[in-house]
Structures are given as structure tokens and as C-alpha cells.
Amino acid sequence: MHINMKIATKYIVALVLLVSFVSCQNNSRPNYQYMPNMYESVGYETYQESDAFKNGVEAQLPAEGSIPRGDFMPFEIENTNEGFAYAKANLKSPLDSLQVDYTEGKILYDIYCGICHGNKGDGKGKLVQREKILGVPSYDDVGRAITTGSIYHVIYYGKNTMGSYANQLNETERWQVVAYVEKLKADLEK
């Protein structure tokens, strides 16, 4: 009986050790690294916390009035009702007929717009069908009567519940999407 007890305790100890080894694997924290100074950047990481700035974040907004490098054109029409009306009446696409690429426009449109506006532009995207977002108009809506300029203005600034897409699409991409939306509108009006 005594021997049995001893064997039993041995097994229990081994089991406890095994269990404790296995339970050491914790998925909520990152694993050990061999040489962290080769893994971790010496410079600041993009969204890192840091004391360098007052608000404690490394990522800062660009200085007032700064413009990005590359082919950048400032968009000077304002985000007001007057600006919208002006854009609706006057703003034209800088893309000529050869630069308009409906294939690219469709790819971008399906990612960013189709989820609400529907891939055909009829206002019946997946989120609308699932009644998550309501009241998305069709592009051939008479009351809105969208134009090249108004589409661009709305993509740039957003309108009512729709947000701005200026940070997800660059200038050329926005104009490609505008062209594609106009194509959808024309298709709907057929």
C-alpha cells in the first residue's frame, strides 16, 4: 500500500508539472524573443506611445497648410451648401475619355461604395438589404439629380450621414469612381 501511494504521488507531481508547462502558453501576450533589440525598432513605430509630444502619441497631424508630395492639387471648394451647389454646377472631371478606366473604377467602387449603394448603384447594397443602414438613394434619384461635380464633392467631404472618403481614395481614384458612378447612373436611367 505504501509503495502504491509513493508511485501515485510521483504521477501526480509529473502531471502537475506537465499541466503547468502547458498552461504557461498564454495567447493574450506575445511570445518571448531571442534578441529583442533586433526585433524591436530603435526608431519610433508609427502609432507608438511616446513622450516626445504633448499628447503622448508618436503620430502627429501634419502642420497646418502642409501639402503632400507628388501630384497634388488642392481642392478649394468648401464643405458648405454653397460649395456643394457650386461643385454641382461647375466642377468637371480632369480625366479625359482615355484616362477613364471603368475596370479600376469598378474595383474601387465595389470596395468602398457598393457595400451601401449597391454594386449597380440602385441603393441596395448588402448593408441596406440587411437593414443596417437605411435610406440610401438610387443614383437615378430625381430629387438629388447628381452631377459629376456633386459626386466628387460628396466623396470628398461626405454628405449628411455619408462620411468623407478622401482618406481612402486618392485624387485620381476619386475621379475614377466618379466616372464609374456616372456610368452606373446612365445604366440605371436606361
Partner: protein, 444 residues
């Protein structure tokens, strides 16, 4: 309506009994019927059809108006009654406003101007296409009583699962009982047999004579010791190697994020494209952590999840509505506008390559046309995001060896693709054959 129907019925019974008044009753019947018809049509004209109203409301108004909360425009519950009571404005005014609010404002109407300025001078889209009947329907829908959120009765489900549990318990209990009985039976059999043996004077073999203990015998056998030692060393070598190889590998890393964001709901159920939020994966090295304005593109109008979704959340122990509130707190949204008081969300980065390895998302996503799921796994099923792949060099290299480059419709590189194919004597070029194994491609 009900009354006239009753009278119609009364008359018909009357008619059945007394045949003398036949012509009179039939006249009354037809009169009643006509009245009924007239009454019912006038009813619909006045009250509208809330069911049709709902679909019209959802497709035309809901973008800017909620029923119980102001959004871009004011809340519309009981709007007609409220306008009549508080402002003395009738249906005619409302119709004029809906069809063309800006002309009403220009005409100098006091209340029109007041409400226009109250909502930051945002003009309402004109709806000239709505007929009188359409407007009646919409107003009938807005006049409906607020429905109390239906408490999702999960009794049926629970009952079913409980039933399953009970039946399982019964089976297990029965099995345990059976085993107990068997054990008891064996003990009893043993005891009886012993008794028989004793009675017949047969010596039962019980105690063993003293032998060398097992461990001593083992130590004395040198071959066995050697074999055991080799097996032990090999096994421990295997485990030690395994342990050291997984240092620095974060496969399965699943941190608790400051806001519980469910990829399952967004990318899975709602089918939002990965690149909608991670838009920089198209054009840059990193896939980017979406800034909160991207969340607000939808969550400006989605402040609460559907009751079914909320019920799903309890399975994971999450209150999705509370998580949306965390987003609003962080971005500084008070339900109608931004307060300007925002604070960053401290997301925890999951996929993090060591600093000495270069990886470019746009190169893989846009140029290579690789699906996000190839590396990130079934994200659209993940309630909590975790690292799917080991992200080790061996894993990268392996994929580069096995993946064929899409050379089709890539005229610019046709010549070099052909020459490379000839050089390696293959039909399909892999990434490795195009230099995807060169050290300097990722380490420099």
C-alpha cells in the same frame, strides 16, 4: 368599419328570416356595402398604409431621419400630430416641405426657416416624386406607436440544450450505474470463489515470494539502461528543439483589444471588403490600423446593433452596444455631432514582423493578387482576431517556392517571363524563380 360590417351581417340574417322585405333588405345591404366601401377608401386616404409607408420611409427618409432620435434631420415619430399641436401646421404645409423645402424657406415661412437654421442650414433633399398617397403612407408609419424592443426569448433554445444535457446526463448516469454493478458483481464472484476454495481446501495463490525489486533488476540490465537513456535523450532533444524553435513565433497570439471589434460581424456577416477599412493595404507597405473616421462612416447611423446580433454577443460575453459607445467616446461623438474631444484607442498590434525583415502589403495584395486570407486565415469567422500564420522565414520561403506568378495579361514583362521560363525549363514561374528567395529582397 366594424360597425358597418356588423350591420351588414344583421341585415343578411334579417333577410334570411323575412322574405317579404326582400327588396328593402337587399337595398339596405347594398347601401351598407357602398357605405362600407366609401368609408374604407376614405380611411386609407386619411390614414395611409403603414406597411408601404415603412418601405418608402426606409428608402427615402431613413438616411437622415430616425424615428426617435434626431440625426441629420429631426426625429419623425408622430411628426404630423406634433406639428399640428405645437405649430398649428397642417398636412398641406408638411407636403409642401417634403416636396420642396427650400422654396418653402424662400417664401419666408417662419417655422420653415426656424427648423432649417436649427439643423445647421442643411437643406432637405426635395422629393417631388412622392404622391399624396405616398406621403400619407409615410406619415401613417411615423404615427405608429413605438414598438418596445422584443425581448428575445431564448427559452426554446435553452430548453433544447437543457434537454440534450439531461439526456446526456441520464446516459452517463446509467453507464456509471452499470459499471458500478459490474464491479460489485466481480467482487461478489471473487468472494464466492474464495469461499468455495476455502471450503474445498484448495490453496489460493496470494502472496508472492520475495523477488528482486523491479528497479534493481532494471539497473542491473545495462542494455535496457542504455536503450532507455538514448530514447530519453532523443525525446528531450525533440522537445527542447521544439521549445526553442517557437521562441519569437507568435502564432495564435490573441490579445484583448481596448474595443471589442468583431471581424466576424463586419467582414463575415456584413461582407465588408477587407480593403474598405484597411485601405492602405492597396497602396502601401502596411495594411494600416483604420482610423476612427472609417468606423464612423457607418457608425454615425448605427449606434445600436440589431437584437439578434446583441443576443449573439452574449454568447461571447460581449455587449456590442457598449463597445459602440466606447467608439463614440474615443472619437468624441455625442449622437448628432463631433464634440472635438477625442482620445486615441490603444489598439494592440498582432501581426508584427521583426525589424530586420521587410514586407510590403501592396506588393502582395495589389501586384500579386494574393487573398488576405492566404496569410491572415479565416478572418471573416474570427470573433476575436488572432495571428493565423507563424510569420517565420521558413513559412514565407515555402509560399514563395509554391506560388506561381500570375504572368497572364502582363504584357510589359512578357519577354522577361518567357526568358525565365526557358532558363528554368518550366511552364509556370514560381516566385522563387523570379528572385523571391534572394536574401536582399527582404533583409537589407
Amino acid at each position: 368599419m366594424k360597425k358597418s360590417y356588423q350591420s351588414l351581417e344583421d341585415n343578411s340574417t334579417y333577410y334570411m328570416k323575412q322574405v317579404i322585405y326582400r327588396s328593402l333588405t337587399s337595398r339596405i345591404v347594398s347601401l351598407c356595402f357602398a357605405l362600407l366601401l366609401a368609408f374604407s377608401t376614405s380611411l386609407t386616404a386619411q390614414e395611409g398604409d403603414p406597411v408601404n409607408g415603412k418601405s418608402l420611409y426606409n428608402s427615402n427618409c431613413a438616411a437622415c431621419h430616425k424615428l426617435d432620435k434626431p440625426m441629420t434631420g429631426p426625429a419623425l415619430r408622430n411628426v404630423e400630430a406634433r406639428l399640428a399641436d405645437e405649430q398649428g401646421l397642417d398636412r398641406e404645409w408638411l407636403s409642401a416641405w417634403i416636396r420642396n423645402s427650400s422654396s418653402l424657406i424662400k417664401s419666408g415661412d417662419a417655422y420653415a426657416n426656424k427648423i432649417f437654421n436649427e439643423y445647421n442650414g442643411t437643406p432637405m433633399t426635395p422629393f417631388p416624386q412622392l404622391s399624396d398617397q405616398d406621403i400619407s403612407d409615410i406619415l401613417a408609419y411615423t404615427a405608429e406607436e413605438k414598438k418596445e424592443p422584443v425581448v428575445v426569448e431564448s427559452n426554446t433554445n435553452e430548453g433544447a440544450s437543457q434537454q440534450g444535457g439531461v439526456s446526456n446526463d441520464i446516459i452517463l448516469g446509467a453507464l456509471a450505474l452499470l459499471f458500478g454493478l459490474l464491479a460489485m458483481a466481480l467482487v461478489l464472484v471473487n468472494r464466492t470463489l474464495n469461499r468455495f476454495a476455502k471450503a474445498k481446501d484448495i490453496e489460493v495463490f496470494t502472496a508472492q515470494e520475495k523477488r528482486t525489486p523491479l528497479w534493481k533488476a532494471f539497473v542491473q540490465n545495462q542494455f535496457l539502461v542504455l536503450v532507455t537513456a538514448i530514447i530519453f535523450l532523443l525525446a528531450s532533444g525533440y522537445f527542447v528543439y521544439g521549445y526553442f524553435m517557437q521562441v519569437g513565433v507568435d502564432q495564435g497570439y490573441e490579445p484583448v483589444q481596448p474595443i471589442h471589434y468583431s471581424h466576424r460581424i463586419h467582414a463575415g456577416d456584413n461582407g465588408i471588403d477587407c480593403k474598405y477599412c484597411h485601405s492602405s493595404a492597396r497602396v502601401s507597405k502596411t495594411s494600416g490600423i483604420p482610423s476612427l473616421n472609417v468606423c464612423m462612416n457607418c457608425h454615425k447611423s448605427i449606434s445600436e446593433v440589431a437584437p439578434e446580433t446583441l443576443a449573439e454577443g452574449t454568447e461571447y460575453g460581449v455587449d456590442y452596444n457598449a463597445e459602440i459607445q466606447k467608439l463614440y467616446d474615443a472619437v468624441g461623438w455625442d449622437g448628432t455631432g463631433y464634440t472635438g474631444d477625442s482620445k486615441p484607442v490603444k489598439w494592440i498590434r498582432i501581426h508584427n514582423l521583426p525589424d530586420f525583415a521587410y514586407f510590403n502589403h501592396s506588393q502582395h495584395v495589389e501586384v500579386g493578387g494574393i487573398e488576405c486570407q492566404t496569410c491572415h486565415g479565416p478572418v471573416e469567422e474570427m470573433e476575436i482576431m488572432y495571428q493565423n500564420a507563424p510569420l517565420t522565414m521558413g513559412w514565407c520561403i515555402n509560399c514563395h517556392r509554391e506560388t506561381n506568378v500570375k504572368v497572364k495579361d502582363n504584357e510589359y514583362y512578357t519577354k522577361i517571363h518567357e526568358e525565365l521560363s526557358k532558363k528554368y525549363g518550366v511552364e509556370q514561374l514560381t516566385v522563387a524563380q523570379m528572385g523571391g528567395l534572394e536574401c536582399g529582397k527582404c533583409h537589407y
